[in-house]
Symmetry: C2
Subunit: 186 residues, 2 copies
């Protein structure tokens, strides 16, 4: 019984993840999510759409951070890391259904709802990405890696948003060029 | 009669602008907008919420670009321009109801609807801001001002989003520091 409840919970998370990432959070209804998950009784698993949004973001954050940490790049220095990082960002943005970063999107869709539980997870997630960047930059010998990681975050968020606004994949290239200058010793 | 129709149209635009900027585009209904504008027959002015969104963004873009162009700063060089520009961004982000940039928010809320008329206006607006930045940077003697304007756009969008995600106003300061380095001759 317990196991089945957990499986249903995962099925709902999975269905919600797919729908949220495709259409954003606001336009998807709990009924659509239940239909996609193939369940009828949802109340016992998630008490509200707000709680489900937070659970989906927490689930997606764990996956994303794990993916970042598992990813080993053979890079010789900071400039190579920057190029590899922004090339991947550009590859993602070039996908036909690219619709921006899920965590940024959640924060923006809920821009006037500061206390929303999903906002807290988006905040935590972006701090984790920043920490990962600082560690990677430090490993390649970049000085003041925490400050440089903040700059790379600025360029990353800017590139993700501008790729969306302009449907133009040259933004991560411009971001990489800027980041390469910023990480130089000075 | 004609004049009154135009006044009603402006009243609707004004009401929609206030509601959209506060709550985002998706959660506001046409009925709420009509109620706030104090009108009952709205169908003759805007055929759909999508058309109204586009009209509001076009109206807001005209105002915003005019404001940028009218704004004369006594700046001696590129670094001073950058400081003045990002200081203002930080002042905006420090407002209690800061909820990100309206045009970015529109693009993000409609991330999966590439052909939406409001997306076209957000795209046009951001290009106009970039052009203004390039002109201002060129005036202060910054070399390759168009390329530098793109970098300032990346840092601007990044700072606006990260202020929202983290409720932290130090991001425009980090952006200004990065921009000052990027505009140096090299």
């Amino acid at each position: 019984m317990r196991r089945s409840a957990e499986q249903t919970r995962l099925r709902i998370l999975d269905a919600a993840y797919g729908l949220f990432w495709r259409q954003g959070f606001l336009r998807v209804s709990m009924d659509e999510i239940a239909a996609r998950a193939g369940i009828t009784k949802r109340a016992q698993h998630f008490l509200s759409k707000d709680a489900l949004m937070a659970a989906v973001l927490a689930y997606a954050s764990d996956l994303a951070i794990k993916r970042l940490r598992d990813f080993q790049r053979p890079v010789a220095n900071g400039a190579e890391f920057i190029d590899s990082y922004f090339t991947q960002l550009g590859d993602w943005g070039a996908k036909p259904k690219y619709s921006g970063a899920g965590f940024t999107r959640a924060a923006v869709e809920l821009a006037d709802l500061r206390g929303h539980p999903a906002r807290a997870i988006a905040h935590k997630h972006k701090l984790a990405v920043e920490k990962w960047l600082a560690e990677e930059l430090a490993c390649t010998g970049v000085a003041a890696a925490s400050d440089r990681a903040r700059e790379v975050m600025l360029l990353t968020e800017g590139a993700m948003v501008l790729m969306l606004i302009h449907a133009d994949q040259s933004w991560p290239k411009a971001a990489a060029r800027a980041a390469r200058i910023l990480i130089q010793k000075r």
